[in-house]
């Protein structure tokens, strides 16, 4: 190869790097890897040693949620996501050679659209938080001069900083709508007051909320938002949608959510799947971020085929005028979610939703029976997460957490740091992964800890 190129050594290919810009140190001495190449056997041994330091909670699964949850990952989802033709592929810029991938993603969009009852879904955002941020920016573009977005005061605290980082440069003002202290539900009067000046681009709610309760007034909130000329954006947990009403039927113009429960695993934070959907309205569709697969025909018109559509919204064509800078997204996760939705199908979502609700309610009821424990803190219905308050027991949640850990149990998420008015309260999560034995183990352990 060197001879063909007409050089004597590889270094000559780098001769144009100016002297001052060259790396001058001893590259091989830098702390990079273990300082030498390793064989696969050595890698395996190193990794075994490393990962044995992790503690995986399986028996019982962790009782923690807060935006990522311990849901089951079906073997079929993993199997399909491991097909090398999919996972080693690039974005399907050449549709003819990528039809299978594009069809799978089109099916993801279609099934997600059916789950949400909205008409257009993109093929993924990074996660729920970034999808929410992009939805707010999109609302601002659609609504032109309006620069306020209203969010619930119970909004997920891990989404807030993301939304803030994304929207601050565009001058978006995010304001909290008060919640009812007893139910957690959005205060409709406060909502109307904050909408009165008619400069609100969108109203955002979560259903279920971060604190677990079901925002049962979703439809009314959407109507109020629309009355004042604001868009209605809903953030949802897709695994709840067999039992909870679809955002499209509640009047949502845009829906976002976290696809992680759909067979994607927790992976210590990612990769996840940002769901992004909207109703069919060209005013909205033209402002959508991200890639969208579409069904079309071959040029000769004889066959159906798939292509990426409406690319004129995207960065590789519109550059600084694009609707978003997103390029690499989470396509493989969307594919996994498609497989999950196909497996559960028309009736599976209701079944798994009901199972989760039965079990979470059982857990809350049993915890609430313990002296000094109140669960849930809020009146009204909840889905898979619920608040558990320990003020009556006079024990810091930290202590309970420590004691549970000793018993091989990972408890809930302490929320007092964001919601001091809730006192010693933790958010517990129960899913289809937690059976009766797991829940009983948690309850008896807490009982034991508090009786000490």
């Amino acid at each position: 190869m060197l001879k063909t190129i007409g050089i004597k050594s590889i270094e000559e290919l780098f001769a144009d790097i100016p002297e001052g810009a060259r790396f001058k140190g001893d590259w091989n001495k830098l702390e990079i890897g273990l300082g030498r190449p390793l064989s696969e056997i050595e890698i395996r041994k190193y990794i075994e040693k490393l990962f044995s330091k992790n503690k995986v909670f399986m028996d019982p699964p962790p009782f923690i949620g807060g935006g990522a949850w311990p849901h089951y990952v079906p073997a079929v989802v993993k199997y399909i996501m491991s097909r090398a033709e999919f996972y080693t592929a690039y974005t399907p810029y050449q549709p003819e050679l990528s039809q299978g991938l594009m069809q799978a993603l089109f099916e993801y969009q279609s099934m997600m659209a059916d789950l949400l009852e909205l008409e257009i879904v993109n093929s993924s955002m990074y996660d729920w938080a970034s999808a929410t941020a992009e939805a707010f920016l999109m609302a601002m573009r659609i609504q032109k001069r309006k620069n306020r977005v209203l969010v619930p005061s119970t909004m997920n605290p891990y989404h807030r900083p993301v939304v803030k980082a994304y929207t601050e440069p565009k001058g978006l003002k995010i304001e909290e709508v008060k919640h009812d202290k007893e139910t957690g539900l959005i205060d409709l009067e406060d909502l109307k007051e904050k909408l009165a000046s008619k400069d609100v681009a969108a109203v955002y709610i979560e259903n279920p909320s971060f604190l677990g309760f079901i925002e049962e007034n979703a439809k009314a909130i959407g109507e109020i938002a629309h009355d004042y000329g604001a868009l209605f954006i809903m953030g949802v947990d897709p695994i709840s949608l067999g039992v909870l009403e679809a955002p499209g039927r509640l009047g949502a113009d845009i829906a976002v959510g976290e696809g992680q429960p759909l067979g994607l695993g927790m992976n210590f934070g990612g990769p996840y799947l940002g769901i992004f959907a909207a109703k069919w309205d060209m005013r909205i569709v033209r402002q959508m971020p991200g890639r969208i697969m579409g069904l079309t025909t071959t040029l000769d018109g004889k066959e159906m085929g798939f292509a990426m559509i409406l690319q004129a919204r995207e960065q590789h064509i519109r550059r600084e005028k694009a609707t978003s800078n997103i390029c690499t997204n989470e396509m493989l996760c969307a594919l996994g979610a498609a497989v999950y939705m196909a497996l559960l199908g028309k009736h599976g979502f209701r079944k798994i939703g009901e199972l989760i609700m039965y079990r979470s309610h059982y857990a809350a009821k049993k915890l609430n029976e313990i002296d000094g424990v109140k669960a849930p803190v809020f009146k009204g219905e909840f889905f898979k997460e619920f608040t558990v308050n320990f003020d009556g027991a006079g024990v810091k949640y930290e202590t309970i957490h420590e004691e549970l850990l000793k018993r091989g149990i990972h408890g809930g998420l302490y929320v007092g740091k964001w919601f001091p008015e809730l006192g010693e309260t933790a958010l517990f999560c129960v899913t289809e992964m937690h059976d009766k034995n797991d829940i009983d183990k948690l309850v008896s352990s807490i009982k034991e800890i508090l009786s000490k």
Partner: protein, 535 residues
């Protein structure tokens, strides 16, 4: 060698299955739980009114459907994917195993730090290794993709000027015309005005244009080096000096890092912030479009010396630290000067572990070799194709390329009307993935080719031979390339129709056989006219 992709007339998933089928058995609720809880009560106003219109399919049908579809997809494990600027390298299978290890997959992101020490140790090392590779001081692993890293970098630039109280006048970011589309899009999301400057005939930044563009308003400059033309920016030191004189920060787009490892580091060239594409340079797969990981690293500098604020304080996300006293790793949450978070929780841990394993396996020697092999491949291919009638090599044709080369099919398009797109389709027919086409925008009929370190000499020769053959066919029979591809699952797809506002709609109730362009298959008719053909 004849290439033929599978061509299944695979129906949409909605056309499979039958009422009553389900692919996943949901456990029954325990009787004791039912007794304790009674009926679960979802208020009517928020209860799902109709089940979602999803298909009803058995497990084996789901598996066969997606396996059929996978056979109509094409990745690095199928053959060469020399997409320029995408660095489509082989994804080592040992890294697949590590990234999919259940001792990671089952970890909750907010799990007690003492129970995730092994993972934190890996991520701590990765932060350090990446910093050393790019010659910088601190990294965050929070961003989920390259463009996400760019946005993060732009937000850091913004915060830098905000803290220094000069944001009102720092309103512009300078970007060369050869840049990735994500650069101006990221700059714009960060609230900056993009100033585009041209490249000179040698593919470098035009220094006169740069000097004219730089002013007190300049907040930063985004640059990839080597450039998207595969050329090392020869004036980089001077550029850095000019920018730093007006207190602007230099941002390094790490998409092309594969071309310089071991030879040059962004941190030594004057860059202040750099993003790294784990899914390009460090072997994690592209997943058909994602997930990736786009960590950013910074060169430490004072921001507000009187308060001790440094540039690393502006980084977002949870950063892994090590406590010498306890011997434990822990997460540092964003402080008051940080831009916050760009993604909930840690980052894309899966792809990050691919990168970790990749670096672990190669070490510094291996990484340098990766770069040498990639650059050798590019220049070998360039030599093979250069001078072929129909193709042109614009910008510094005598200069050596680094990670990639951009040819132009303009002569062919001009002479016989055969375009870069036609060339791309001709490559598909031979069982190769196409180059990145029509990018960078400054090259007409661009064919941007990057073999990375992965491709063998034989594959590069076959690729070059096919490109020559395509040129010959084009000049002999210019109508033929317009019929390509013929060996793929589908013939050429009508992308114009697909995107036309009049045809892009969700499928209406009765249009299953009507092949309109659609975006989702909502409200479709379940009756199908299509038959699945078995092999």
């Amino acid at each position: 060698m004849v290439f033929r992709q599978a061509k299944w007339d695979e129906p949409l998933i909605y056309e499979l299955g039958a009422p009553g089928r389900i692919g996943f058995l949901v456990p029954e609720v325990e009787e004791e739980i039912k007794k304790e809880v009674g009926e679960i009560k979802v208020p009517d106003k928020i209860k799902r009114s109709e089940p979602p219109a999803l298909p009803e399919i058995s497990e084996v049908e789901v598996v066969r459907h997606f396996v059929d579809l996978s056979q109509m997809a094409y990745g690095v494990d199928n053959g060469p994917v020399p997409l320029g600027s995408c660095t489509m390298k082989y994804n080592p299978k040992i890294a697949f195993e590590v990234a999919n290890d259940l001792r990671v997959a089952y970890l909750h992101p907010l799990q007690d730090e003492r129970t995730v020490q092994g993972l934190l140790e890996a991520l701590y090392h990765l932060q350090k290794w990446l910093a050393n590779i790019v010659g910088m001081d601190a990294c965050t692993l929070n961003p989920a993709a390259g463009a996400h890293g760019e946005l993060t970098g732009v937000l850091v630039i913004r915060k830098y000027h905000e803290i220094k109280g000069q944001l009102d006048k720092k309103t512009e970011i300078i970007i060369p015309d050869s840049a990735h589309g994500t650069n101006p899009a990221s700059s714009s999301m960060g609230g900056f005005r993009t100033i585009t400057i041209r490249s000179d005939a040698d593919g470098n930044v035009d220094m006169e244009a740069l000097k004219a563009a730089v002013s007190e308003k300049t907040a930063g400059l985004m640059l990839t080096n080597p450039s998207t033309l595969g050329l090392f920016e020869e004036h980089i030191l001077e550029i850095a000096e000019i920018l730093h004189e007006v207190d602007a920060l230099l941002y390094y787009d790490g998409a092309n890092l594969n071309g310089i490892m071991g030879y040059a580091r962004p941190g030594d060239m004057g860059f202040d912030i750099a993003h790294i594409n784990i899914h390009k340079t460090f072997g994690s797969p592209h997943g058909g479009g994602g997930p990736g990981a786009g960590p950013i690293c910074i060169k430490e500098r004072d921001v507000l010396p009187e308060k001790g604020v440094k540039l690393s304080d502006l980084l977002p996300g949870f950063i892994v630290k090590y406590d010498e006293k306890t011997g434990r790793y822990y997460l540092k949450y964003p402080g008051p000067y940080s831009i916050g978070m760009v993604k909930a929780f840690f980052g894309n841990v899966g792809p990050l572990l691919w990168g970790f394993t990749y670096i672990l396996g190669l070490g510094p020697q291996g990484l340098k070799e990766v770069t040498e092999q990639a650059v050798l491949n590019t220049n070998y291919f360039t030599k093979l194709l250069k001078g072929t009638k129909g193709y042109d090599l614009p910008y510094g044709p005598e200069r050596f390329r680094k990670h990639e080369v951009v040819f132009s099919a303009e002569p062919m398009a001009h002479d016989v009307g055969v375009t870069a797109e036609d060339v791309a389709k001709g490559l598909l027919d031979a069982g190769f993935y196409a180059p990145t086409i029509y990018f960078p925008l400054i090259v007409h009929e661009a064919l941007m080719i990057e073999f990375s370190d992965t491709e063998t000499k034989e594959n590069i020769e076959r690729y070059a031979a096919r490109m020559k053959e395509i040129a010959e066919i084009a000049y002999k029979n210019p109508k033929e390339p317009k019929k390509w591809p013929v060996n793929t699952a589908k013939g050429r797809v009508d992308a114009v129709k697909a995107s036309h506002p009049k045809t892009v709609t969700p499928t209406p109730e009765d249009s299953n056989t009507n092949m309109e362009s659609t975006c989702t298959k909502r409200n479709r008719q379940t009756k199908s006219t299509q038959v699945k053909h078995f092999p």
